[in-house]
Amino acid sequence: MVASWWSLYPPMLRSRLFEEAVARLWHDGLISGEMHLGTGEEAIVAGVVTQLRDDDAMALDHRGTSAMFLRGVDPALLLWELLGWPNGLCGGMGGHMHLYSRDHLAASSGIVGAAGPAAAGFALAAQVRQSDAVAVAFFGEGAMNQGMLLESLNLASTWRLPVLFVCKDDSWAITTPSERTRGGLLGDRARGLGVPAVVVDGADAMAVWTAAAAAIDRARRGHGPMFLHAHCVHVEGHFLGYPLLRLVRQPLREVSTIAGPLTRSLLRWHGAPWRERLAGLQEVLAAVWQTLRDPRRARAHDPVWRARQKLCSEPARLKALEDDVNQEINLLLARAMAEVPA
C-alpha cells in the first residue's frame, strides 16, 4: 500500500480538529493539569502511524494524544480520559501524559527520553518471538540529551532491534531553544551510536511517509533501527497556556506582571557587572522575540494547510472530505460529552 495526499490529508485534519476540540475543553477548565498537543506535527505523526500494522508497537512521550488517536484508539475513550472520567481509556488514572492502550501496544510516558527504552523493549519482544513487527518511538529533540534515549539507540543498534526512532524537532524544550543545549548534530549522534539517520521535512507528510516506509521495511527485514529526524512547529508552543505565547497574544495582561520584577531586579544594587546583566536580559528577551516572530509559524509551514494545498485542484472532492471529517469530530464530541459519568 502506498500513500497519497488524499490518504494523508484526512488523518492530519482529523488530528487537528480533534486536538482543537481538546484545547477548547482545556480552556473551559474541564481538563486539568498541563496539556501538550501535537498541533503542528501532524505530518510526522500521520506519516508514520498510518502505516503501522496491528502487531506493531508505539512508545510515546508527553505529547502522544494525536498518535494514540491516529493509531485507532477509540477517540471517545481518549476524551473521557482527558476529562478524568471513570469511563476513560485508563479509568481517569493516567491523563494525557500517561495514555496506555494494551490492545494497540501503545504506551506513553511523561519522563523525557523514556520512549527510547520502551520502544527498544517492544522491539525486543518482537525479535525474541521472531515476528517481523516493529516498534516506533516518538520524542522531541530535547529528549536527545537524555542518557536513557542515547543508551537505547546503542542498544537497538547492537541488538539490531526493529525500532524506528522518530525525533519531532520543534527546536524548543519548553522555554529553552534547543540549539543552546545541543552539541553536534542529532543525525551524527545517532550514527555514532550505530543507528543510521535520515533528515526529512516534518511539514511534508508525504516525505515523512516515504522515509518511514523505507525505515520500517528495513526493520521488518531484520536490518535494525533507523533514526528519523523531522522538523516541525508546535503551534500552541510547549503546552496550552504557554507563557511566551500568552505574552505575545495578551501583552497588556502579561507583560506588566513580568516586566516589573525583571527591571527591578536588573537595577538592584550588588550583582554582576552591567555587561553580564544585559547579556542575561538579552537571553530572556531573545526567547521572547524568537517566539514572537517565529517565521515557522507562518501558515505556509502548517503541515495541514500544506497538505490541503495539494488537493485544491479537486475542490468538490476536497469539500466532501472535509465535511465528513468535520461531521465525524462533531458527532464524536456530541456523543462523548453526552455520556456524563454517574
Binding site: 519548553i174 529553552t176 543545549t181 545541543r182
Partner: protein
C-alpha cells in the same frame, strides 16, 4: 517585615545569598526563564540553563560543590530525580564517608514536589521520606514563605548535600505555569497561609532539624510537613469544634528529624497521627513510629498518607492525597 509568595521568598533568599557568596550558582532546565529575575542581576555565568541531562548536570553540580562552589541544582520536579538518583545516592551522600570525613559535597538540589493540580502520578510525588532513607542526605520541606527562604539559606550554609523541596501547591508561580496556564476556569485547594505570608526584611538561616509547633493540642499530636501541615491545622480546627484538642507539628526538616520534639509531644498527648503526602510504606510515617517506640513511649498511632500512585482525575487525586476529611476521621478513631 515584608509579604511574599512562596517561590518569591526562596528566590529572594537566593539573591541575598548570591550577593554574599560568589560561589553560589544556579543551574537546571529552563532556569534562565524560571529564574529570569536572578539571571538579569547575576548574569549567565552564575545562572545557567542546561540540556535535559539530569544525570550529567546533577553529577556536575556535586563535583562543582566538591571544588568549592555552592551550586543550587534545579530539577523540574522531584519525580525526575529517578533518572539521576545515582549522583545523590552514590556520590553526594557518600563523599564525606568515602573520604574519611576529609571532603564534602555541599550541593543544594531544589525541586518542586507534590500534587493537587492534575499532572498525575509521574509528576506529583513527594518522595521526601524516600530520599531521607539515604545516610548523608539532608531533606527539607518548608510549608511557609518564611521557612522556605530561611531553610534555603540554611541549605546553602550546610556543609553537605541538601534536597530542598518546593511544594507546587504552595508555589503561585509553578501552579500558574503547570496548573492553570493562565486559565481562570480552574481552581486549586491552595493553603493560603502557605502560599503567601510575612518574611523578614533580611533573611537569617533557619535551624536544620528543628520542627515547629503550628498548633498546641492536648488530645493528640498531628505530625506533618509541607501542604499536609495546613491540611492538618484545618482539620484540627474542625476537630476543636468536636471537643478534640489536636496539636500540629510541622517537621520542616525530614532529615535530620526532630526526634526530641516529636517524642516530647507524643509522650504528652499519648496519640500520634502522621499526615504524610509521601507514600505510606517504608517512609516517614514508619520512621516516626520507630522513633517513638525507641524512646520507650507507648502511644496510639495512625497515619494518613498517599497509599498508591497518584491518579490524574481530580476527584481521585483529592481522595488519594491526604485531605481534611481523612485526617479528621483518623483523629476521631484515635480518640475512641
Amino acid at each position: 517585615m515584608r509579604t511574599m509568595a512562596f517561590t518569591e521568598a526562596i528566590d529572594d533568599a537566593l539573591a541575598q545569598a548570591m550577593v554574599a557568596d560568589p560561589s553560589v550558582i544556579l543551574l537546571g532546565e529552563d532556569v534562565p526563564m524560571l529564574r529570569r529575575n536572578l539571571l538579569v542581576r547575576f548574569g549567565s555565568r552564575r545562572v545557567r540553563g542546561t540540556p535535559i541531562s539530569e544525570s550529567a548536570f546533577l553529577g556536575a553540580g556535586v563535583a562543582a560543590a566538591m571544588a568549592g562552589m555552592r551550586p543550587v541544582v534545579e530539577l523540574y520536579m522531584v519525580d525526575f530525580l529517578a533518572v539521576c538518583m545515582d549522583a545523590l545516592v552514590n556520590h553526594a551522600a557518600k563523599v564525606e564517608a568515602f573520604s574519611g570525613g576529609r571532603w564534602t559535597a555541599p550541593v543544594v538540589v531544589r525541586a518542586p514536589c507534590g500534587g493537587g493540580y492534575g499532572d498525575g502520578g509521574q509528576h506529583e510525588q513527594a518522595l521526601w521520606g524516600w530520599l531521607a532513607h539515604i545516610p548523608g542526605l539532608t531533606v527539607l520541606v518548608p510549608s511557609t514563605p518564611a521557612d522556605a527562604g530561611g531553610l534555603m539559606l540554611a541549605a546553602l550554609r550546610h556543609d553537605g548535600p541538601v534536597v530542598f523541596l518546593e511544594h507546587k501547591l504552595l508555589s503561585e508561580m509553578m501552579l500558574e505555569f503547570l496548573g492553570s496556564g493562565g486559565r481562570d476556569t480552574v481552581r486549586f485547594d491552595v493553603p493560603v497561609d502557605g502560599a503567601r505570608g510575612p518574611v523578614p526584611d533580611r533573611w537569617e538561616p533557619a535551624p536544620l532539624g528543628r520542627s515547629i509547633t503550628r498548633r498546641e493540642g492536648t488530645d493528640l499530636t498531628i505530625i506533618s510537613a509541607g501542604v499536609g501541615v495546613h491540611r492538618a491545622v484545618e482539620a484540627a480546627q474542625a476537630l476543636a469544634s468536636e471537643g478534640i484538642s489536636a496539636g500540629v507539628i510541622d517537621l520542616r526538616s525530614i532529615a535530620p528529624l526532630d526526634r526530641s520534639a516529636v517524642c516530647d509531644a507524643v509522650a504528652r498527648s499519648g496519640r500520634m497521627l502522621v499526615v504524610d503526602e509521601d507514600y505510606e510504606g517504608f517512609g516517614l510515617s514508619g520512621e516516626l513510629a520507630a522513633v517513638v517506640l525507641e524512646a520507650g513511649i507507648s502511644c496510639r498511632y495512625a497515619r494518613v498518607c498517599t497509599r498508591t500512585t497518584i491518579p490524574y482525575a481530580p476527584d481521585l487525586e483529592r481522595r488519594t492525597l491526604p485531605n481534611r476529611e481523612r485526617i479528621r476521621d483518623a483523629a476521631r478513631r484515635l480518640m475512641t
